[in-house]
């Protein structure tokens, strides 16, 4: 790995997350992939190690880090298991809107339990008929006196059912289209807030994905995040900050697969010699390693730009997520190729990396949506000139 001149504190985070990955994640990755149970034991280890509060301000019990710290942790965990890493990363996705747009009362109420790892979080916007086109969403929130009443259904919600704290987007004024959406903080156990079926997924199977169902769900008025109509702005600003986390997850998955591929290529003998002695294999490994490093450099650069307080970074955030997730799909596929027939069976670890990698091209905006974001930014910049 290149020397990215991490601070002493960041190195400490990396080393600790690596230790958690080696001692607590790798040994159980295959088990949770098979059973699809929620990895509470590992989540508890992360909590005890103060990982839950990495990117949360110290005054709310966190470690006071930023996106860079989040990215370092997401990458290390993903080397062991992209699904278990997601329990952590999806909590960040559910927490960022509160960090970015919550008022003091909301922050005081919700952040300390997330920072201590006592609670995990989730973010809800996707509906069956509203994926990339989030403005087509049907879930509504009507103001009635001192509370909003939510009705509708969302699906594909990561950490859904297992999280305690949710940020949910719902339409407060359908006539305004995208400007009629608002964000709310919900708590598990609120009357009228229930969970539907758990999805049986291709990859990241240790992570839970469920439906959120709102049936006349009463949400106190003070749980509105920001102002009415800010739902999509909050979503976009949140994704701009969270996408490097997915980029890091992709880098971690790819690195994990590459490490396995190098190890295997040295052990495997064909035609009387180790297959790592063949240029065909060496070229594949060289391409894989170069692409992983390039993606990591892009992800880290973007995370640092965000932490520096920059304003306009959404295209770079989209670029690092796009590049890293496409890279991860390619590198993990090549890792399976190097393993040959052994790569295709579950007894060996690389097919899981390939299944886990696929989702990074899809969630928090598909690769195509990332290109839309980048393209639009380019055009906007050109117009300003």
């Amino acid at each position: 790995m290149l020397d990215y001149l991490l601070t002493d504190e960041q190195k400490m985070i990396r080393d600790l997350c690596r230790q958690i990955t080696d001692e607590k994640i790798r040994p159980v990755a295959a088990k949770y992939d098979e059973s699809q149970e929620f990895p509470w034991d590992v989540v508890k280890v992360m909590a005890d190690a103060d990982i839950g509060g990495l990117y949360i301000e110290q005054k709310y019990g966190g470690m006071g880090g930023g996106i860079m710290e989040l990215v370092i942790a997401a990458e290390e965990f993903s080397k062991g298991c992209g699904g278990i890493a997601l329990c952590f990363a999806a909590t960040a996705l559910g927490t960022l809107p509160i960090i970015l747009f919550g008022n003091e009362d909301q922050k005081q109420k919700y952040l300390p339990d997330i920072a201590s790892g006592k609670k995990i979080a989730a973010f809800g916007i996707t509906e069956p008929a509203a994926g990339s086109d989030a403005s087509a969403m049907q879930t509504t929130a009507d103001l009635k006196g001192d509370h909003y009443v939510l009705n509708g259904m969302q699906h594909f919600i990561t950490n859904g059912g297992d999280a305690e704290t949710y940020v949910v987007i719902a339409m407060t004024d359908k006539s305004k289209g995208a400007r009629g959406a608002s964000a709310f903080i919900l708590e598990k156990g609120m009357k009228g807030f229930t969970f539907g079926k758990k999805e049986d997924k291709m990859g990241i199977r240790a992570s839970s994905t469920r439906e959120l169902i709102f049936t006349d769900c009463k949400v106190p008025k003070e749980n509105l995040l920001g102002k009415e109509g800010m739902g999509f702005v909050i979503t976009m600003k949140t994704f701009d900050k969270s996408r490097p986390g997915i980029g890091a997850q992709a880098v971690g998955i790819a690195q994990g697969a590459l490490d396995e591929a190098v190890k295997y290529a040295r052990q495997r003998h064909q035609f009387g010699r180790s297959i790592s002695s063949f240029q065909g294999i060496q070229f594949m490994l060289a391409d894989m390693a170069t692409e992983v490093e390039a993606a990591r450099a892009l992800v880290y650069s973007c995370a640092r730009m965000i932490d520096s307080g920059a304003k306009d970074y959404s295209q770079y955030s989209a670029m690092c997520k796009l590049f890293a997730s496409e890279m991860a799909m390619k590198v993990t596929t090549d890792a399976v190729q190097i393993f040959g027939g052994y790569g295709y069976i579950k007894e060996y670890p690389v097919e899981k990396y390939m299944r886990d990698a696929k989702i990074t091209q899809i969630y928090e905006g598909t690769s195509q949506i990332q290109k839309n974001v980048i393209g639009l930014s380019l055009i906007k910049e050109a117009l300003k000139k």
Binding site: D8, M12, L16, Q19, E23, K24, D48, A49, D50, L54
Partner: protein, 261 residues
């Protein structure tokens, strides 16, 4: 509750080398770790702190580099660290070590419980813990695998024996040594790691302790290692083949010869 945990820096290797001249451990070029049994002692102390409140102080006697194992203990929850280090302590056997550590702990004052690992992985004597208790005239419970409760100045615990376990009640302050069955040590926390970086290690030298000089170091050590050797591997046993009655007669004959011999 004030808990003191005694830890030792040991070489991290299963292939310990012995200097044939001095019959002592070769420490050069070998990485040092916290004695594996002491890791359980630290964990138990931190758990007691979480259950009953109080502080955990780790203490070690050794060269200045032993500071590293003290910092490691802080990453998993120890509050303070004390390094007992002086040239005068060099060459201490278990008696002198127990005496020196006991005097250092006495200096800390008002200790409710002292916890040690059952033995060190290098020397394997299991004498220093009981030695400290004796020097301080404290009750001691060795091979503890469970602490049931602590209240009204008493502690109830389980003590592992070869046949099972004993339930022991002791008055406090007391010293206990723990076995690895007592808990599953935690990983470090980020806050612990940060604290370990900045924690002020308290240093104690001979002059800081109320000690009799002739009880320290080599002078205070009545025992010394005269020879350390690797025992030769057991020779292969003799196998008698044939019918049961035949081999039995043979075996009895051989045993008889042995007894005579």
């Amino acid at each position: 509750m004030k808990i003191v945990v005694c830890i030792k820096q040991v070489p991290d290797t299963t292939q310990v080398k012995i200097d044939p001249q001095t019959n002592t451990l070769v420490r050069e070029g070998v990485q040092s770790i916290v004695n594996p049994f002491d890791v359980y002692a630290i964990e138990e102390a931190v758990r007691l702190k979480e259950r009953f409140g109080g502080t955990v102080t780790v203490i070690t006697m050794g060269p200045p580099q032993a500071e590293n194992v003290l910092r490691e203990a802080v990453t998993v929850g120890a509050d303070d660290a004390v390094l007992v280090s002086d040239r005068a302590f060099a060459g201490s056997d278990t008696l002198a070590t127990g005496y020196t550590l006991a005097m250092a702990i006495k200096k800390l004052g008002n200790v409710d419980m002292i916890i040690c690992g059952k033995q060190a992985s290098d020397g394997d004597t299991a004498q220093v813990g009981p030695g400290i208790a004796t020097q301080l005239d404290l009750p001691q419970v060795t091979y503890v695998n469970k602490i049931e409760d602590i209240k009204d100045g008493h502690a109830v615990m389980h003590r592992m024996t070869e046949e099972g376990y004993e339930v022991v009640q002791t008055s406090m302050p007391c010293l206990i040594t723990v076995v690895k069955e007592i808990n599953e040590p935690r990983l470090p926390s980020l806050k612990g790691k940060m604290k370990a970086k900045s924690v002020q290690i308290k240093s104690m030298k001979a002059i800081d302790l109320d000690v009799e000089d002739n009880r320290l170091g080599l002078t205070g050590s009545p025992t010394w290692v005269s020879k350390i050797f690797t025992p030769p591997p057991r020779p292969k046993g003799e196998i008698f083949e044939g019918e049961a009655s035949e081999t039995t007669t043979k075996l009895v004959g051989v045993l008889k010869d042995h007894l005579k011999g």
